[in-house]
């Protein structure tokens, strides 16, 4: 009897169940994909190497389990509440509370078992696709294959059993606690009166804006130094606290207040569209503010973590240019005839520049950082060599004119040595006329390069011939990332190569990169399926209202626009909060925790790309949801 009702219920309410199914499957697949991910041998190996990634992995697993359980329970509660009227009808028809609990339990069982089966297939597939995408995105070489392990079967089953038991208990509680009339009126209960809290709203919005201002203050060096004088720890802490509290209370009080203000403007309110959507927004925010806060928080987390990863990646990739300005660079002395130079130069893309370099002691020592670190010598080169090497490296635009000689090329950005006079080898005085950070050699070859006129160099070289070494460089755009080109030099001791540098950067942190990308994808899917689920249920609940609107004279077009806004508000709030909070925190991170050696605009560009990517993904989620919503209403 109960079983046949369960079956017919599922059939009858298929559209409602379908949403429940899809959302459950979405979350469960994400979890299984994650298990798949950490049991992948190749990745496990890489994670094992990096303690940091291991911590992230275990932390995320715990987080994901909690998240999964909480949301599966949330879905169930949500679902039961939406159906309370129907349960009330059954109760009036004479179903006992025990029978109703049994009915819900059976339905729950069917849904969880079916979702489990589908997710076992979908999870590994998701994993497979995600890793495929990641390896392509990050340009990594890694074998990808579809697999599933016994461990996954058991773990995900365990979680489902827990969820099932909890749902069983909560459903039992909901049903036993409720009187018949409450069943019938349950959905009304949710419509608690919407209170306007003006002071709290203003404080919340101010706190959030203040945290944004603090983040933006780090962009300009003067305000940044002011912040730093207070101290890194107190500033970081207060920004994070302001962002968190500001966000929570802005959603809770600020938004209703803003809509209240909008509604006060009658000119605005009394228009066909706003007359419906403003009150509906208000209602939505009042009844869904906890969900919106959780989603906003998740999105902020996702955006910041992904953003930091993208920045670090862009930073290290971009750093390669600075760390290895030439494709190949070595001291001629350390090579003994293994390199076939004529052969190499047959490729007319390749240019060879030999630079003579004099390492001369100086008094006083050269200060290389703002904090006062010093080096006791200069690496002196002549202007013609400097120009030739810069040209070979393709940096013609950054070549300094001969009027700026002697030119000090510092590895770190500091102008302490500008205008200072140094005594070389107790013999020559030079006064630095210009400083620059456009280094021509790698860090390990030279940190304090001093470019002098050809004439002075000739004199110095004649005077201290024993201090001269020759640095050989190879340049050419196509060879910077070429493994075959590098192989021709790999036997030279201490050779510095852009290829091997790039290789190290990419492989050293591969586990962390893959990991964070993967986590971001998981978060996106989780939040997306929750948004999808909630929007659809909300709209379905008030399905008949749209037919009222049409009877009142709302055109199809207007109704579709109302649907667009109504669905949009659920998406927009968390996405906007995630992206704005996330980018503010990222700006803060970039300017306070990353040194400014590497071109900031490349980092900013990659960040913008990352934010844009988030917008596109959630935009797509929104459009998909809207499509389902419209098809529900228009039928």
């Amino acid at each position: 009897m109960i079983w046949s009702i369960t079956k017919s219920n599922i059939k009858k309410n298929f559209s409602l169940y379908r949403i429940y199914f899809l959302a459950t499957i979405g979350l469960l697949s994400v979890f299984i994909a994650f298990l798949n991910f950490i049991s992948d041998k190749i990745i496990a190996e890489k994670i094992g190497d990096s303690g940091q990634a291991l911590v992230i992995a275990n932390g995320s697993l715990v987080f994901l389990i909690v998240f999964l359980v909480v949301f599966l329970i949330y879905f169930n509660n949500f679902f039961v509440k939406k159906r309370s009227q129907e349960l009330g009808v059954l109760a009036i028809l004479g179903f006992s509370k025990r029978e109703l609990t049994k009915l819900l339990t059976l339905e729950n069982l069917v849904i969880l078992v079916l979702s489990y089966l589908v997710s076992l297939l979908l999870g590994p597939t998701l994993y497979f696709l995600a890793v495929l995408v990641i390896t392509h995105l990050l340009d990594l070489t890694m074998e990808v294959h579809w697999f599933i392990t016994v461990n996954e079967f058991i773990k995900s089953l365990g979680i489902l059993v827990v969820v099932f038991l909890i749902n069983f208990i909560t459903n039992g509680l909901i049903i036993s606690k409720q009187s018949l009339i409450e069943f019938v009126n349950f959905s009304r209960k949710a419509e608690k009166k919407i209170r306007i809290r003006k002071v709290r709203a203003i404080i919340a919005i101010t706190a959030l804006l203040l945290s944004y201002i603090l983040c933006l203050a780090t962009v300009f060096s003067s305000t940044r130094n002011m912040l730093l004088s207070i101290g890194m720890v107190p500033i970081s802490l207060s920004i994070i606290i302001l962002v968190i509290l500001g966000t929570i209370f802005t959603i809770r009080y600020g938004l209703t207040f803003v809509i209240f203000l909008l509604k006060e403007n009658k000119k605005r309110l009394y228009r066909p569209l706003s007359n419906i959507i403003y009150p509906k927004f208000n209602y939505r925010i009042a009844t869904k503010n906890k969900l919106l806060t959780v989603l906003g928080g998740l999105l902020t987390l996702t955006v910041s973590v992904t953003g930091i990863m993208v920045m670090l990646y862009a930073y290290s990739l971009n750093g390669i240019e600075r760390l290895t300005p030439s494709a190949i660079e070595y001291n001629v002395k350390s090579e003994n005839g293994q390199v076939n130079v004529t052969n190499i130069l047959e490729n007319d893309q390749v240019s060879l520049v030999d630079v003579d370099l004099l390492r001369l002691n100086t008094n006083p020592e050269v200060t290389i950082t703002e904090s006062g670190q010093t080096i006791p010598y200069f690496d002196v080169i002549n202007y013609s060599d400097y120009k030739e090497l810069m040209k070979a490296q393709g940096r013609t635009n950054s070549i300094e004119g001969s009027e700026s000689l002697p030119l000090l090329i510092n590895y770190y950005p500091t102008e302490i040595s500008l205008g200072k006079t140094f005594n070389l080898e107790n013999a020559y005085d030079v006064t630095v006329k210009q400083v620059s950070t456009n280094n021509v050699f790698s860090f390990s070859t030279s940190v304090t390069t001093l470019v002098v006129s050809d004439k002075l160099y000739a004199e110095l070289s004649a005077r201290f011939p024993e201090k001269e070494i020759t640095i050989r460089t190879f340049n050419g755009n196509s060879i910077r990332s070429s493994e075959t080109f590098y192989n021709q030099f790999s036997m030279v001791p201490d050779v510095i190569s852009s290829y091997s540098r790039e290789y190290t950067v990419k492989t050293a942190n591969i586990a962390t990169y893959i990991f964070i990308t993967f986590l971001s994808i998981l978060f996106i899917i989780c939040t997306g399926s929750i948004l999808y689920f909630t929007s659809l249920i909300e709209i379905m609940e008030n399905k008949e209202e749209y037919s009222y609107l049409s009877k009142l004279g709302y055109s199809k077009k207007l109704i579709n626009r109302i649907l667009g806004y109504e669905t949009g508000i659920l998406f927009l709030i968390p996405v906007l909060i995630g992206i704005v909070n996330g980018s503010m925190l990222l700006i803060f991170y970039k300017y306070l925790f990353m040194d400014t050696l590497v071109a900031g605009n490349i980092i900013m560009l990659s960040l913008l790309l990352c934010l844009f990517f988030f917008l596109i993904i959630y935009g797509t989620f929104y459009l998909l949801t809207l499509r389902s919503v419209k098809s529900i209403i228009n039928n």
């Binding site: 009394y270 066909p272 009150p279 008030n542 009877k551 199809k556």
Partner: protein, 245 residues
């Protein structure tokens, strides 16, 4: 002047054997208050739906103030509903998440009424129908009778030419029914609004000028108040019981 004219109107639902409306011919004069009665399934709601062009007819013509509305496009139909007619339904059709004031204002903002006048209009109507205290509340906080009055205000506040009402007293007790019918007949008298109302209830029907009886989708009988005078109520009851109801 003729407000509504139905000529040989036929309507059959898909996969249904019998006509829901079978060659209906009728005329409603401007300012007239007409009640439609008949047993369950006789086609009353269908008649109301097709004359308010919520639903399409299979054959025949429907005119409203000399315009043929049965051939209206979707857009024309929307405009017609928006500007010329008001609805009062048994289940009130109020939006749960809007306050009473916002529910009423929908009708006006849709008609692009000057926004500065909307609040005053709502206030004066609410006072007239004893709802002023309720304007800030939400529909679920009101009784059935109050909700029905809200939906009537929403229908009449935009000064439509016709009001369609489908069992407006269906869910109300005797006292609330009388209140609701009082309002409808009052605005029919003072504002000269044409009313077409479906009802099961003889008492409600007796507020009308004329009662139309439907049977199996056909027009069975018409009773005019002018012909009966004081005995209108009894004549209607008699007519209904003659048909075994």
């Amino acid at each position: 002047m003729k407000q509504l004219v139905l000529k040989d109107v036929c309507k059959k639902y898909p996969n249904q054997l019998n006509y829901a409306l079978d060659h209906i011919n009728m005329i409603v004069e401007k300012g007239e208050f007409v009640a439609v009665m008949g047993r369950s399934g006789s086609g009353k709601t269908t008649l109301l739906n097709v004359t308010s062009i919520i639903d399409k007819i299979d054959s025949g013509n429907i005119y409203c103030a000399d315009k043929e509305i049965s051939t209206f496009s979707d857009k024309e139909a929307t405009n017609f509903r928006k500007n010329d007619i008001g609805f009062v339904f048994q289940d009130y059709m109020l939006l749960d998440s809007l306050t009473i004031r916002e529910n009423i204002s929908v009708a006006l903002s849709l008609k692009n009424v000057d926004s500065s006048k909307i609040d005053d209009l709502i206030n004066s109507y609410a006072k007239r129908f004893n709802l002023y205290e309720q304007l800030k509340k939400y529909p679920y906080q009101l009784s059935g009778g109050q909700r029905q009055r809200v939906s009537i205000i929403r229908a009449i506040i935009k000064e439509p030419e016709i009001i369609f009402a489908d069992e407006p007293t269906g869910a109300l007790d005797l006292k609330s029914s009388e209140g609701t019918m009082g309002i409808l007949s009052e605005i029919n008298k003072t504002e000269k609004v044409t009313i077409l109302m479906v009802t099961h209830d003889v008492l409600s029907a007796s507020y009308a000028d004329r009662v139309i009886l439907l049977k199996d989708g056909k027009l069975h009988m018409e009773i005019d108040k002018k012909d009966c005078g004081e005995s209108f109520y009894d004549v209607i009851s008699q007519a209904l019981s003659d048909r075994g109801e």
